[in-house]
């Protein structure tokens, strides 16, 4: 098939990085050369045996376990992230970038305070924008929560009479989500303007919504 002329000395180079054509020429040569035949056979046997080391097994419960761990870890990190901030005394573990950002923010705040110190400020206006934004988020959040509660009420009978392992797994996941939501809500109550906590909370609500939808779609 190939006009390529392969010698015993080419063997290792072909083993290293041979093209398909070079391999075919080596095979043709090995048909006439006992030492190359033995080497080619051994080389191929190694690859054949190696492919038997690939193993697949069923572990249907592994993804639910990973998912729970991801939800718990996410909730834990969201709360510990905030817990480090208020004191401001433990910035070192957060990395020099965050420490630098905090210092810059403090410097800017101090500068603007000095610049606007003399200007009269209408009473009650200082935190108006921030408070308004927080109130809007809280309102949207409450609406969203009510909608999810309605969804929860519809899925509840199916969850309470969990007849399949799938529904039982959904129920367990919802318990984890509820506990993460409760934890985040209590953090958010203490720090209402923390956007990071709000986003984490929304992610949990969204996951709960998706899970409840899956429960309702699942066959009883």
């Amino acid at each position: 098939m190939s006009a390529m002329n392969v010698q015993c000395s080419d063997r290792e180079r072909i083993f290293l990085d041979g093209t398909g054509e070079e391999w075919a020429a080596l095979e043709a040569h090995a048909a006439r050369c006992a030492s190359c035949r033995a080497e080619v056979d051994a080389w191929k046997a190694l690859s054949r045996t190696a492919s038997e080391l690939h193993e697949e097994w069923d572990s249907a419960w592994l993804w639910p376990r990973i998912e729970r761990a991801l939800v718990e870890d996410s909730a834990r990190r969201a709360s510990s992230w905030w817990a480090r901030l208020p004191g401001g005394f433990r910035l070192a573990p957060l990395g020099w970038q965050i420490a630098a950002a905090v210092l810059l923010l403090a410097a800017l705040t101090a500068a603007s305070f000095l610049l606007f110190l003399d200007r009269p400020v209408p009473p009650g206006d200082e935190a108006l924008l921030k408070d308004q934004a927080v109130r809007e988020v809280q309102r949207a959040e409450a609406d969203y929560e009510r909608a999810i509660d309605a969804l929860d009420a519809r899925a509840r009978p199916q969850l309470e009479n969990a007849s399949t392992p799938l529904v039982a797994s959904y129920r367990e996941k919802l318990q984890v989500l509820d506990s993460a939501i409760a934890e985040l809500k209590s953090e958010a109550r203490m720090n209402p303007a923390n956007g990071h906590l709000r986003r984490q909370l929304l992610a949990m609500y969204r996951e709960k919504q998706d899970t409840l939808e899956q429960v309702l779609e699942a066959k009883p």
Partner: protein, 224 residues
Amino acid sequence: MGTAGVALPWARISCELRREERRVEREEDSPAVSAPPREGSNEDALLARACQSGDLRAFERLYRLHGARMKSVARNLLGTTSDAEDAVQETFLKIQRGIGHFRGQSSFATWSFRILINTCYDARRSRLRKKEVAQEEPEESLRPEPRAPSAHPTLRIALERALERLTRHQRDVFLLYEVEGFRHSEIAGVLDISETASKNTLFQAKKNLRQMLEAPRSREREAG
């Protein structure tokens, strides 16, 4: 379903990902073995973005796509299925924690496999430390689990033992290429080496394995 019309920042990404998921499912002809990660695919980039936004469905998709191969890689590095599953779980936690630092220099799947391999070596080191502390522990408990029957059981057992005697680098390249079917370009991304280095390392690994596996047979022949 009623969601009070609250638009969530990641909803668009999730929908996009689900559309892509359906397209991929149509195109896939239900392969028995999951495909190795391919560089630069659209789904890979979508997955990375969705995981960055905290979408658990994206993590699930990553698991469905690469979980089987992740478990197999971990099983070959750690020796037991339960350790392999723990390593895969730990890998997903590390992906979630580190996704903010993923900048897309390699494919998302390649980056995930790199985390998996490092996690497996962390587990090996921690097991070694425990073994050193509890010297009285019987060696039996540290032996790899028996595997499913194969065409060449003796050769396979010999190969498993020989693999342990390779350098870490050679073992990783051999496992990824010969056992898991990765391409050299993908191995280069996972192990942060060049493609040429991957080819050279594989060649050296196979030469060493060949010698290790040949030696007992030569002794047998001489004895006979």
